[in-house]
């Protein structure tokens, strides 16, 4: 069964963001990694790239298909999780511990458009 970690904000396209001060760690939910199956490649942006809420910033590839990564917030990429370059399967092992990008938020009010864990869990069941 998929896990829904408390304290994170979730998007309808199955990304999460863990907010720490003015920064946010963005990854894919445990539900998403289950649905994808074995992740074999993560296409990530570069540090200093701008991301925009609701727009694609990369992709996660399973054996069969590529799924776009949609940013839940707007901001500037300050770090990418380089471990995923060589070990993309970390997303299958623990999607919440293995964030994909760290972003400096440009508009924290965008977080209000996202779901909490309980609402997201209900969303996934539907």
């Amino acid at each position: 069964m998929a896990k829904f970690e408390e304290g994170l904000r979730y998007s309808e396209s199955h990304e999460y963001i863990r907010v720490e001060g003015e920064y946010g760690y963005i990854g894919i939910s445990d539900y998403a990694q289950h649905a994808l199956g074995n992740v074999v490649y993560v296409d990530m942006p570069e540090v200093d790239d701008e991301v925009t809420a609701g727009e694609e910033f990369g992709a996660v590839e399973s054996v069969k298909a590529a799924s776009d990564l949609i940013s839940p917030v707007s901001g500037t990429v300050v770090e990418v999780n380089e471990a995923l370059e060589d070990t993309p399967e970390l997303l299958n092992e623990d999607a919440f511990a293995n964030w994909i990008i760290k972003v400096q938020l440009s508009d924290p009010s965008e977080l209000d458009n996202l779901m909490d864990a309980k609402t997201y869990a209900t969303f996934c069941e539907e």
């Binding site: 199956g37 074995n38 074999v40 490649y41 296409d43 992709a59 590839e61 399973s62 054996v63 069969k64 590529a66 370059e85 993309p88």
Partner: protein, 359 residues
């Protein structure tokens, strides 16, 4: 509305991810593609391939007719011999690729792709004029299982009780009212078994209950066939892609008296083709997929990916692609546009993993 095979309820009960393929609702995976892929490479897997189509050609002109519509040469073949080849349009484009089983004198069993069944049967019927044959479309009667992997022979003999060790690669025999052949679409040793729906259901149950054979979906069927360079109609062959372009000339016997499309192939062999199918290996792990653009070192589009994967058996991102012939030589630097980025690579042989047939 997609059709269901006779094993549909069993797939659902096993929790398979079901998806439309070739007009049927088919299992894509039961557990995950990687595990199923590895089961076939290392042990044994069973596929429901009942979606494949079957046509029986009999009558005094059966051999002459098969020779007319089929690129390979079945003349004087021993009973039980199987041939791979194509049916072509007069311009050399491919109607379908298929297996032809010689079941007896002037008695042939043709196995065609699910997605092409209606088109193929119509094509065959259109070309019967002047031939004294009976064309019997049997797709609705036959179920089909593919038991594949290095342990397939033992599993078929011990679990299904069908003796098959004496069958040579690409030969078939009739056992009761079933047909079994040493064929497959995985690059491993294995068998394909055609029987009634009832036989297919009972055999499937025995294989799954034995625990010696993993249920495998079409997801890993595609990764397995791709790695060993086997074409899929719709990707590497089509009405626009001739067997010469796809590098499959060895299955087109141009020394045969005639077959539909022969003149076009003779012309293509003599004058060359504008595009050829190649393998491309990328330096990075990003995955080239069907339809992505292939670029030369100047960044110009020179082709298109037909199938691509992160190749499971060799841990590399590779694809087959149809490219302009001038870029088809081994080691030519070519890149693939994957979303916004361009990934460098080079032309390699379009076989990424060696076949392990039992010959």
């Amino acid at each position: 509305m997609e059709k269901k095979t006779c094993l549909y309820d069993r797939h659902v009960a096993l929790g398979a991810l079901m998806s439309p393929f070739g007009g049927f609702i088919m299992p894509i995976q039961y557990s995950n593609i990687t595990d199923e892929h590895n089961a076939v490479r290392q042990h044994c897997g069973v596929f429901d391939v009942s979606h494949m189509g079957e046509v029986r050609i009999t009558g005094p002109d059966a051999e002459k007719y098969v020779q007319h519509i089929f690129t390979n040469d079945v003349a004087g073949a021993p009973v039980g011999q199987i041939y791979y080849g194509m049916m072509l349009y007069p311009n050399g484009g491919t109607v379908d690729d298929l297996l032809v089983y010689k079941m007896g004198e002037n008695d042939f069993f043709l196995v065609i792709n699910a997605a092409n069944i209606d088109k193929d049967v119509a094509w065959m019927k259109e070309h019967t004029t002047g031939f004294d044959i009976k064309l019997d479309h049997q797709s609705d009667f036959y179920g089909q299982l593919a038991v594949q992997g290095p342990e397939a022979e033992k599993v078929v003999e011990e679990v299904l009780g069908i003796p098959c060790s004496e069958l040579k690669f690409y030969t078939a025999k009739v056992v009761g009212d079933i047909i079994i052949s040493r064929t497959g679409y995985t690059g491993e040793d294995g068998f394909e078994i055609y029987g009634s729906h009832e036989f297919t259901q009972k055999s499937w149950d025995k294989l799954i209950e034995s625990g010696r054979c993993k249920p495998c979906g079409l997801g890993c069927r595609d990764t397995l066939r791709f790695e060993v360079g086997l074409p899929l109609y719709g990707d590497e062959l089509s009405a626009d892609i001739s067997p010469v372009m796809a590098g499959l000339s060895m299955f087109c016997k141009l020394d045969k008296e005639e077959f539909i499309g022969k003149e076009a192939l003779v012309e293509q062999k003599a004058n060359g083709v504008a595009q050829k199918l190649v393998g491309i290996e990328l330096a990075d792990k990003a995955i080239p997929r069907h339809g992505y653009a292939v670029l030369n070192t100047e960044g110009e589009v020179v082709g298109e990916v037909t199938t691509g994967y992160h190749c499971l058996s060799v841990d590399k991102s590779v694809c087959m692609a149809l490219v302009k012939t001038e870029f088809a030589k081994l080691d030519t630097p070519l890149a693939v546009q994957i979303r916004k980025k361009v990934f460098e690579g080079k032309v390699v042989k379009k076989k990424f993993y060696d076949k392990h047939y039992h010959k």
